[in-house]
Symmetry: C2
Subunit: 302 residues, 2 copies
């Protein structure tokens, strides 16, 4: 079905649906995590001794995605759905996933899988509605943190539905520091590709992290002396915290659409910028392109 433009009222309805869906999915994630605690009053009988943490997480991932997919199909049978779990099972090669003509839901049922396995709180569910290739509604629910990030194009970005993002707005949103990146908090992830090759992802990433961290003048003039370097193990949470203003700069390569679709609209509605992380031809004069979903390489600034 080609997209008939939604009225503002229709968009409000879809936004409310997406927010509730994010809350419900987050609750499912947390309940499954709590079943692994001891002494929390939750039952651990669902898991036999032979179930490994990884099996439990895979099952949770699939269950939560199925719940989201079914809920959307019941409410909006004409919309398309792209989810991490469904995609991983059916596709072997990399293809651009989002239709330009059909309203498409882009969902990661669980970002921060390793964190979830270890009960480190930085995990979340990410739900986005993409229209004409642009993320238009975004919901990120981090249930263990009690943090719900939401945005809809034109309606601002919100934490827990009551606090406008970015959080620090009194008396005004602080501008990026004049000596940026020196006073900035920089977030980045080490990723899973750890081949020890000079041209590999690991070495190139660590080069970049070192440049951001090293004293000004160091690293052949590239030293950024950022105020802090953070790695959370969840690209989606990185992006949410950049929207919140907790982080100033985030970059990542190798993202999938479901990692970033919700975060993009939340960041943009909070006044942040996101573009491809490929350096421009001339850093002073080149136009900064708007991000395109599917570019895989992202740079976000609050």
């Amino acid at each position: 079905m080609a997209i008939k433009p939604f009225t503002e009222e229709e968009l409000d309805d879809i936004y409310a649906f997406a927010v509730q869906l994010g809350k419900d999915a987050g609750k499912l994630l947390l309940e499954a995590a709590q079943a692994r605690f001891n002494g929390s009053g939750q039952s651990s009988q669902d898991f036999s001794e032979k179930d490994s943490a990884v099996d439990i997480v895979t099952k949770t991932d699939e269950d939560v995605e199925a719940f989201i997919k079914t809920s959307i199909a019941e409410k909006y049978p004409d919309h398309a759905f792209v989810g991490e779990e469904s995609y991983s099972k059916t596709c072997s090669s990399r293809a651009y996933l989002i239709s330009d003509t059909t309203p498409t839901w882009c969902v990661d049922p669980l970002d921060g899988t390793v964190n979830y396995t270890h009960l480190f709180p930085m995990f979340c569910v990410s739900i986005a509605l993409v229209l004409h290739g642009k993320p238009t509604i975004g919901v990120i629910c981090a249930p263990y943190l009690n943090q719900l990030f939401t945005a809809c194009r034109g309606r601002g970005a919100w934490l827990n539905e009551t606090q406008r993002l970015p959080l620090v707005r009194s008396p005004s949103i602080p501008p990026m520091p004049e000596n940026a990146p020196q006073s900035c908090v920089f977030s980045c992830e080490w990723g899973k590709d750890r081949k020890d090759r000079p041209d590999g992802n690991l070495c190139r990433k660590v080069e970049s992290f070192l440049n951001m961290a090293a004293e000004v003048g160091g690293r052949g003039g590239k030293g950024g002396m950022v105020h802090g370097v953070r790695s959370l193990g969840s690209a989606t949470m990185d992006l949410a915290y950049t929207a919140m203003g907790a982080f100033d700069i985030w970059w990542e390569g190798g993202c999938w659409e479901w990692d970033v679709a919700a975060g993009i609209v939340i960041l943009q509605e909070a006044g942040g910028l996101i573009t491809t992380a490929n350096p421009p031809g001339d850093s002073r004069t080149s136009k900064i392109e708007d991000v395109k979903l599917g570019s895989r390489l992202y740079l976000a600034i609050r």
Copy 2:
């Protein structure tokens, strides 16, 4: 005053006092943070436009330490007190801070200062009672996360007073993986010393991070291929999450007593090990020494 050994009842009383003190101090931190939000229903009138985030944080840091110090002095006038803020103001050189003969409270009113300024949730207050040089009571309160970590020697370690640490205990506490560190989550911090010198802290730390992260066989055989690398910007929270089981390994150099005193007893009561991070003479046969407060270089394992 020389230490007269406390009875178990006396220790219970002091523990209850310390836990309440941690909660109250955490509440003060959170209230000061919330005053910087806009639209949260909190007043921002206390801060004039010229107040920078740094000034506000310094004031909060001092206020919270003063509150803790006064509360302890009223209740236990014979005990000694070592706090980060008081120490920084009065001492210029590095000295070992903890008395062997007087019960000493060792307090960091705010760990994760940069996070606090940016409203990134990973900040906390850390309160420890040290007896005969050994951390005996530890309280870490991360108020924005609603997480309170507590322990007293012989009484176990707890999250929010109800969940025994480490969290995952069903059906039993999972052992360290046989292929460790491959399945481990490793936490580490970049620190503030970022001189671009081969023998400087930055380069030596990044060497170590790279060894932990790189593929097995990489880095001249040192590659650890850990499951994840995390940097939170708070050594105290790193240690708390290692006790919780969210992280498996943490190491840090340059810690102060108040960064780690509470975390040490919480980790140990959760069954974890903490020692100096200096490598032993022979890794197979050397005795693993118990940690000493003041060693500045720490290695913790859940």
